[in-house]
């Protein structure tokens, strides 16, 4: 397989502004998502993920404007998640310039939303995003959570991933709530468990701290690796991660700085 392992920075946005500290560059205004997205694009990001954590419809509208401005200047794929419940939400996001849309709680509450969205827009637009953790009570040992990992959805993570792909999801964004924020490495057995049951691309998320962690995730079967803080805080650059993947024998897209 010669398609490159994608390296994806994730930006949390609230009312059109990036939240969580970002200090990887000496930006005049580190909270401006468009400026950050452009900087990541120039660094060689293969894709960008925006997670919209706005609670109000006004906040969402502001985020849509941000997606639109980003799509005007950054010519790499953009995925936007947060608050997506059905066809109408996806339609708005695609029209504003998103290439892909992530669905999480909206699909847990109404799995049919996956069928509706992918029948209308194709499988490639829909990323099933799930926050999973080890849960002894679930048959696979992994359960799905909601509310930022605070509540169990009462779903087996592996069974949910299979169902979502059967319903049409074209990609899986697998976020480990156990590893998230620890910088102790991705949850490799969980990546392997998901990889074993689906053929669609799997994006590993949660726990990245070193270049080796990204290499391990790719070895476990991840097609793409996503991280936030290590990139935002400048602990690692996108180029360093790609260099590490390349040295480990994985195909990557090397970008010469403009």
């Amino acid at each position: 397989m010669s398609v490159a392992i994608r390296v994806i920075p994730c930006l949390d946005v609230h009312d059109g502004r990036v939240v969580k500290g970002v200090n990887f560059l000496n930006l005049r205004d580190a909270g401006d998502p468009v400026e950050l997205a452009a900087a990541y694009g120039a660094q060689g990001a293969d894709e960008l993920t925006f997670l919209d954590i706005s609670a109000s419809s006004q906040g969402r509208a502001t985020t849509h404007d941000m997606v639109r401005r980003t799509a005007e200047t950054v010519f790499i794929p953009l995925c936007v998640g947060g608050g997506v419940r059905g066809v109408d939400d996806v339609d708005v996001l695609l029209r504003t310039g998103a290439d892909k849309v992530g669905i999480n709680t909206g699909a847990i509450n109404r799995p049919q939303a996956i069928d509706d969205i992918t029948r209308r827009f194709g499988n490639q637009v829909l990323v099933l995003s799930l926050d999973a953790r080890r849960e002894a009570g679930q048959p696979s040992g992994y359960g799905v959570t909601t509310h930022g990992g605070r509540q169990s959805a009462g779903l087996d993570a592996i069974a949910w991933v299979k169902e979502a792909v059967d319903r049409g999801s074209g990609e899986i964004l697998l976020n480990s709530m156990d590893a998230d924020g620890t910088t102790g490495g991705f949850d490799l057995p969980m990546i392997e468990a998901v990889r074993a049951v689906v053929d669609v691309p799997v994006i590993a998320s949660g726990g990245a701290g070193t270049v080796q962690h990204f290499v391990d995730a790719a070895r476990a079967g991840a097609d793409a690796v996503l991280a936030a803080s290590v990139f935002h805080y400048g602990t690692l650059s996108i180029a360093e991660v790609k260099q590490g993947l390349a040295e480990a024998g994985f195909p990557v897209r090397m970008v010469t700085p403009a």
């Binding site: 010669s2 398609v3 490159a4 794929p77 194709g122 490639q124 669609v200 691309p201 793409a224 897209r253």
Partner: protein, 208 residues
């Protein structure tokens, strides 16, 4: 120097905003419209497309797209097809057992890739022919693909067709075609960063 005028055909398919902005950034004067006169008279016509082959053909027919494309190509006026806009240039597409006629500029069938990992999503390398115009100066670059269907056999293409190949999981498919005034790519140049921008500049340089 006047910028070449490019029409992006608006038939309700896909992220037209990005295609438009990328063409502007690459140096074209761009109009997004389904107006037949504008599409016929522009220096270049871009046919985008995402989603299902049949749905794209329905949308394209609703705006008289097949006639527009044929008319332009008969007159030697440049057309660029992207993703499903590339696929519809072929004879037909088969998705979920449904066989749909394409615009039929080139013989060939668009069919499901025969490999495990689908969709083919991400940045892949391509193998352009030495005579390529589109990929000039872009040896070794990667482009952004997102699709599960493609033209897998090109043996019936005209001899003067310049075919670019790509490989996913061991299955080879047509990643681009340059023949007469038609250029088309299975990948998304408008989403392929600097390499995609350079390819669009190469195409724009052939206009007018």
């Amino acid at each position: 120097m006047t910028k070449p005028l490019v029409v992006v055909l608006d038939y309700g398919s896909g992220n037209l905003h990005s295609a438009t902005r990328a063409l502007v950034a690459a140096g074209a004067d761009v109009t997004l419209t389904a107006d037949a006169d504008a599409a016929l008279n522009a220096d270049g016509l871009v046919v985008p497309g995402v989603g299902a082959f049949a749905a794209c053909m329905d949308g394209l027919r609703a705006v008289g797209g097949p006639e527009l494309i044929r008319s332009r190509l008969d007159d030697g006026r440049p057309v660029l097809g992207i993703c499903v806009g590339h696929q519809v240039m072929f004879g037909h597409g088969v998705e979920h057992g449904l066989d749909t006629a394409g615009v039929g500029i080139l013989p060939g069938v668009v069919e499901r890739l025969r490999c495990e990992r689908l969709p083919h999503m991400g940045w892949n390398t391509v193998e352009p022919p030495p005579s390529t115009t589109l990929f000039a100066g872009l040896a070794g670059e990667r482009f952004y693909f997102v699709h599960s269907y493609a033209v897998r056999a090109a043996d019936r293409l005209p001899n003067d067709a310049r075919v670019t190949w790509a490989d996913h999981d061991g299955d080879r498919f047509v990643a681009g075609v340059e023949v007469g005034a038609l250029s088309s790519t299975q990948f998304h140049p408008e989403k392929s960063g600097q390499a995609g921008a350079a390819l669009l500049r190469n195409w724009i340089a052939t206009l007018g």
